[in-house]
Amino acid sequence: MHNIIAIFKKQLKDTLKNKTVLIQFVMFPVLTLVMNNTIKIDGMPENFFVNLFATMYIGMAPLTSIAAIVAEEKEQNTLRVLLMSNVKPREYLLGVGSYIWLACMLGALVICAAGSYTIHESIIFMIIMATGILVSLLIGLAIGAWSKTQMMATSISIPVMMIFSFLPMLSMFHTGIAKIAKFTYSEQVSMMLNQVSSLQLEVNNVVILIANIFLFTVLFSFAYKKCGLD
């Protein structure tokens, strides 16, 4: 626990100096606040921008930032040196992971506040966000573990995050895409976010989410076994 907190603190100090990661955390929350308050079109569903940007936030911020952070630590050899002190790989992953999870939850809170939700709805909104961010973190960790350099992590995470964050939007316009998109966690999250006031989870929603978590955990384990943390 001690080491996890130390890593958490270091990560916080580092992010404040790291514009590329920082912008990931704040861009969508700010965008949501601005759009939601300025653009009002007749007939637009309630909380349209909130749901749209919340889904994109989940697909982008946690995934790209953790992949970049882990890959950079490998590239710069800071991770190797860290693991040669009394830090275990698990502690490092938990430290960085919990940090990004919390940072993204703060962003999610801002997005949530931008919407017009009751307290009860807000709680459900945040629980959905928490789950989505967690799945994204797993994907990002798998990419980070696989990549030798930050460049490599970026080039993998950009297409991956595009797929997951844009699928829900595309499936609004295309039923064919929707049929496939249904199996992604981001589409599931997006659907749930659209019904926070009367959320009715069916078995297949839960199964798809768990299958996603399982799949990305396996992918991460594979990348970790193959490449380790150096």
């Binding site: 080491n3 580092d14 800071t78 040196v81 860290l82 040669m84 002190s85 009394n86």
Partner: protein
């Protein structure tokens, strides 16, 4: 006294590339041990094996009384390491780099200022690492290795690429650490460093230890390399073996009053190395 490090018949390959060949040596506690060898000799690989970052193909190595293949995270807390890639956090300040490791090692932050003063980085404590010179980064990396007050330090080329002044500063820090009873394993290309700093050295060439001993002993052993360099008044330079065989010729020069200067060129680690391997250290 007990040995801090024991290496017995260690061999290691990367694929088909045999990098270390039957390496055997010990480092008594409280010594500075220098591993001297040119680029590619296998120095960094040996450090990685001894600190458990890599597992050797064959042979046995012991650190802190434990098989290096079985070192745990808490064992790693008992050693200080400075790697060739320094592994510093570029965006964080000098102070925050050490503060992080102080947290990891559960050391009071009060200690950071003392360490920074000792290593001459106190004035730069708020500077981001990315803005430091190579020498300052090396010193910071050394400072971090000292953070947990470990009994044994592994330093991979701690002075490579540094100016003579900074090099001397680092040497005096290392001697200070030895005074405190620390064991130091360092690698270097620099024979002066090895000669002036190390209690024992091993010469590593293409993965094999070709000579081992104190710097003075090694040089004495190769004293047949000791030559007399005579510069005559005409400017001519003559090399003579430093032995009775040269006495007659010397006598003649001296009688003719033809000698401008005489130097004896005792073997240095560099000349010994060249004698042994046919190659230089750079």
């Amino acid at each position: 006294m007990k040995n801090a490090v024991t290496a017995r018949d260690i061999s290691h390959s990367f694929g088909t590339n045999r990098v270390l060949n039957h390496i055997t040596f010990v480092i008594p506690s409280g010594e500075i041990f220098g591993l001297l060898g040119p680029s590619g000799a296998g120095k960094t690989t040996l450090i990685k094996l001894l600190t458990g970052q890599l597992k050797q193909d064959s042979g046995y190595a012991e650190l802190l009384g434990k098989d290096t293949k079985e070192l745990s995270a808490s064992d790693h807390g008992q050693i200080g390491i400075m790697m060739d890639s320094l592994g510093l956090y570029d965006r964080l300040s000098v102070y925050n780099n050490l503060a992080f490791y102080a947290d990891i090692y559960r050391v009071s932050h009060n200690k950071i200022a003392d360490i920074l003063k000792g290593i001459g980085l106190y004035e730069a404590r708020n500077t981001a690492v990315s803005k430091l010179s190579k020498g300052m980064k090396n010193r910071l990396s050394l400072a971090r290795a000292l953070m947990n007050d470990a009994g044994i330090l592994f330093l991979d080329e701690p002075t490579s690429g540094l100016d003579p002044v900074t090099t001397r500063e680092i040497h005096s820090i290392l001697r200070e650490q030895r005074e405190k009873g620390k064991t130091i394993f360092l690698t270097t290309h620099n024979m002066f460093e090895a000669e002036s700093l190390c209690d024992h050295i091993a010469l590593l060439s293409e993965g094999s230890i070709v000579e081992y001993g104190t710097p003075a002993d090694i040089c004495r052993k190769y004293n047949h390399l000791n030559m007399l360099r005579v510069t005559l008044k005409g400017g001519e330079i003559i090399s003579l073996e430093n032995s009775s065989a040269s006495a007659l010729q010397m006598k003649e020069y001296l009688e003719r009053n033809a000698v401008e200067t005489i130097h004896s060129t005792e073997p240095t680690l560099e000349t010994v190395f060249i004698e042994l391997t046919g190659k230089g250290l750079d």
